[in-house]
């Protein structure tokens, strides 16, 4: 496939891995990939097991589904079960557990819950069902927030009054800060989020090297992108540099997407604080609809319980999201908590570290190496 296969070339991958080994000089390095999309790529292509053993990857908080706290899922289910409501959601959120059930179960109980691929689909459903209230469950970082914003602008322009948004958009920089502040974590650098950076650019990360002395390389989502960004990180460390670099130059500009940032500014404003699954409340980390779009805010249109629910005791999503423990080190991983019966959000989304490890990486480095013996065709 053009524009995809080039970034999966095994010969180029072998060269990159060798170079990482040479440049890192065998020194143990621990890098966090912030973005769930990267986690998914790393496991799907088996990158961890082909890297030199001295390079360790820890999986960060950038999975939009994983960071939604239980209370917000309960609120979503409550909205979905209000009479006359069509509740629309990305498929990923359907299986995320609230305190007593999930959206898929709410649907089975009779709620009209529909899976959409874009908030614009939700708006179309609203236009096709003028006698029903259509609520869109908005989640995600700066990556998906612009499409929610554009949908709201369109709803306002077209005067669609039976449409509203249950806003759970979050921003990437505050949790990054929280992780850097976390005392129990030692990292040598960051693989910076790619999609988010297409919107916000590279400038917002400058505090990472400036204040915390850690290098950050914004990376694309193909396996070679990841390897190249690791190579750039080990180069920086070897050369004694510490800066923000851009590996994903084909998509990310330093200043980001100015038009998208502008529309985000019009449609959203920062909440004073927002609760993150496993990370607790983080100041100025969540978005809500601005005054100008308050009429489309589901939290104002409907009564939303807004009860804070504590994470289940056994669940260690927070430590996984901060990269303090590996998924398999969680007490309930793979036994009480599996993709079929998830306790924590990290086990639901394909971008969640636990689900990615469970689905793709559930074998040791040695087993992976022995399985890599080529398949004989005849």
């Amino acid at each position: 496939m053009r524009f995809v296969d080039e970034y999966r070339d095994p010969a180029a991958a072998r060269r990159a891995v060798e170079e990482i080994g040479i440049v890192s000089g065998g020194e143990h390095r621990k890098f966090m990939e912030v973005c769930g999309g990267h986690t998914h790529t790393i496991y799907k292509h088996g990158i961890e097991n082909v890297l030199p053993e001295n390079i360790e990857l820890v999986h960060g908080p950038g999975c939009p589904v994983c960071v939604i706290p239980m209370g917000r899922v309960d609120d979503a289910i409550n909205l979905a079960e209000q009479p006359g409501v069509i509740f629309t959601s990305f498929g990923d959120m359907m299986r995320v557990p609230g305190s007593t059930s999930n959206l898929l179960e709410a649907k089975a109980r009779g709620a009209d819950v529909r899976m959409v691929y874009s908030p614009l689909d939700a708006l179309r459903i609203a236009q096709a069902n003028p006698d029903r209230q259509v609520v869109f469950f908005a989640i995600g970082f700066e990556t998906t927030a612009p499409s929610t914003a554009i949908t709201l602008v369109k709803a306002k322009e077209a005067g669609v009054t039976n449409f509203s948004v249950f806003c759970n958009h979050v921003t990437i920089v505050p949790p990054l800060k929280a992780i850097l502040e976390s005392p129990d974590l030692r990292l040598d650098g960051f693989i910076g989020p790619g999609h988010v950076s297409t919107v916000i650019g590279n400038r917002p990360y400058r505090f990472v090297p400036a204040q915390y002395g850690k290098p950050l390389v914004t990376a694309g989502f193909e396996p070679l992108d990841i390897l190249q960004s690791i190579l750039m990180l080990v180069h920086q460390l070897r050369d004694g540099r510490c800066e923000v670099e851009n590996q994903y130059t084909r998509a990310v500009r330093d200043e980001g997407n100015v038009r998208a940032l502008q529309i985000l500014g019009e449609v959203f404003e920062l909440r004073p604080h927002f609760e993150w699954r496993g990370l607790g409340f983080i100041s100025h980390s969540g978005l809500k609809l601005s005054e100008a779009f308050a009429d489309w805010d589901a939290e104002l249109r409907f009564h939303v319980p807004g009860v804070r629910v504590a994470d289940p005791k056994a669940c260690q999503c927070g430590e996984v999201l901060k990269g303090v423990i590996k998924p398999w080190e969680c007490k309930v991983f793979g036994t009480a908590c599996t993709p079929e019966t998830p306790i924590g959000t990290c086990m639901v989304s394909s971008e969640g570290a636990c689900a990615a490890y469970y689905n793709y990486g559930r074998f040791t480095r040695d087993a992976a190496a022995s399985a890599r013996i080529p398949v004989r065709s005849a």
Partner: protein, 373 residues
């Protein structure tokens, strides 16, 4: 994590490694237990052919009907007549939405789905039943045309529709029409297909490009706003099976990778044979358009349904002959060896990626593309 763990301290690392291994072993033991049904209400995952389906089948159907013929839980039952002859008997319901899609209709699917299940038992499909659930108000002209598709499909498959039933339900109680079929065929005396006969070293083959049907139906719904020239592969596989068994008489096992795709049938094989299936990503035949659509949708073609393909396991010395036999048939032109059976890791499917790494290929918990068959 302590700093000691991060430092390249050998004993500490070995300890962590063995700890990870212990966790993985515990998970593997858990995974081997058949999934338990925990839901109080049916949801779409129960019909997806993955773990939730298995849980429902175990907890409700097997519990109620338990018998020897049902026990293997393959796509059809093998029944031995007093004469010693063996019949393969299978049933299938078609609820696809939309009822017409590029490459076929619900009528083709209703016949092919059943005759292919019979063919995968090694039998020559002969007779089919058809029961129709019709929604009040469904156009007769539409029904005629669907039934014409069934007639065409039956003729191509060499089977006769020999009995049937018709029910009409209130408007809103069904979505147009649903078709339930059952099929019977005779298994030739020298054919014995069984997952338990699979051995390490055996090769895994697929008869052609994967994922065509699921993607074609999904795009035909028009919800995704993606247009691509992809047709369903719906086809009767009896002839292809005969060609394969003639060319590679030692064939151990056959399955048609419908719901849940090649990944799911390989997982069922790995579990039933207690062996590892190692797949080679580069060898998987996937149409560029299907690959492109899957890439955009974030789904893996390995999990997407096929309606005219088979996965076969053959002994290594017959692998080449099997590929030749499949390719000589009009439905097997893109046949390829896609994997190998090994001892380790037992019960698991692993794919070596084109990029040079590898990953586990597990059964899906739910279905990425509902109501495609």
């Amino acid at each position: 994590m302590s700093e000691a763990a991060a430092a390249p301290d050998e004993p500490e690392k070995d300890f962590r490694k063995s700890e990870e291994e212990a966790v993985l072993e515990r998970i593997e033991r858990f995974r081997r237990n058949r999934p338990r049904l925990r839901d109080d209400f049916i949801n779409s995952a129960h019909g997806a052919g993955g773990k939730a389906s298995a849980a429902l089948i175990d907890a409700v159907f097997v519990k109620a009907f338990a018998n020897e013929a049902l026990a293997p839980l393959t796509d059809g039952a093998v029944l031995t007549l007093p004469s010693g002859e063996r019949l393969a008997f299978s049933t299938d319901s078609s609820v696809v939405n939309p009822i017409r899609f590029p490459g076929g209709s619900i009528g083709h699917l209703a016949v092919h789905g059943t005759v292919n299940d019979v063919a995968m038992m090694g039998a020559v499909p002969a007779w089919v039943s058809a029961a129709f659930v019709l929604e009040d108000g469904f156009p007769v002209a539409e029904l005629r045309s669907i039934v014409a598709d069934m007639r065409e499909a039956a003729a191509n498959a060499g089977v006769q529709v020999v009995t049937g039933d018709t029910k009409v339900v209130n408007k809103g109680s069904a979505d147009g029409l649903y078709i339930c079929t059952a099929g019977v065929g005779v298994i030739p005396a020298d054919v014995h297909l069984d997952a338990r006969s699979v051995r390490p070293g055996d090769r895994v083959l697929v008869s052609g490009t994967i994922g065509d049907h699921g993607v074609a139906v999904m795009l035909a719904r028009g919800e995704l706003g993606i247009e691509a020239d992809i047709e369903s592969d719906t086809a009767p596989l009896g002839g292809l099976v005969s060609a394969l068994l003639a060319g590679a008489p030692g064939t151990r096992w056959l399955r048609d990778p419908t719901r849940g795709g090649v990944a799911t049938v390989c997982n069922e094989l790995a579990r039933d044979a207690d062996l590892a299936i190692i797949l080679d990503e580069v060898s998987l035949p996937v149409r560029p358009a299907v690959n492109g659509a899957c890439e955009i949708l974030g789904i893996d073609p390995l999990y997407v349904a096929n309606e005219g393909k088979l996965v076969a396991v053959v002994p290594p010395e017959q692998a080449e002959a099997a590929v030749v036999a499949l390719r000589s048939h009009p439905l097997g032109g893109d046949a390829a060896v896609i994997g190998e059976v090994r001892d380790d890791p037992p019960g698991m499917v692993v794919i070596n990626t084109g990029f040079g790494g590898n990953r586990v290929v597990d059964m899906l918990a739910g279905d990425p593309l509902p109501r495609i068959c």
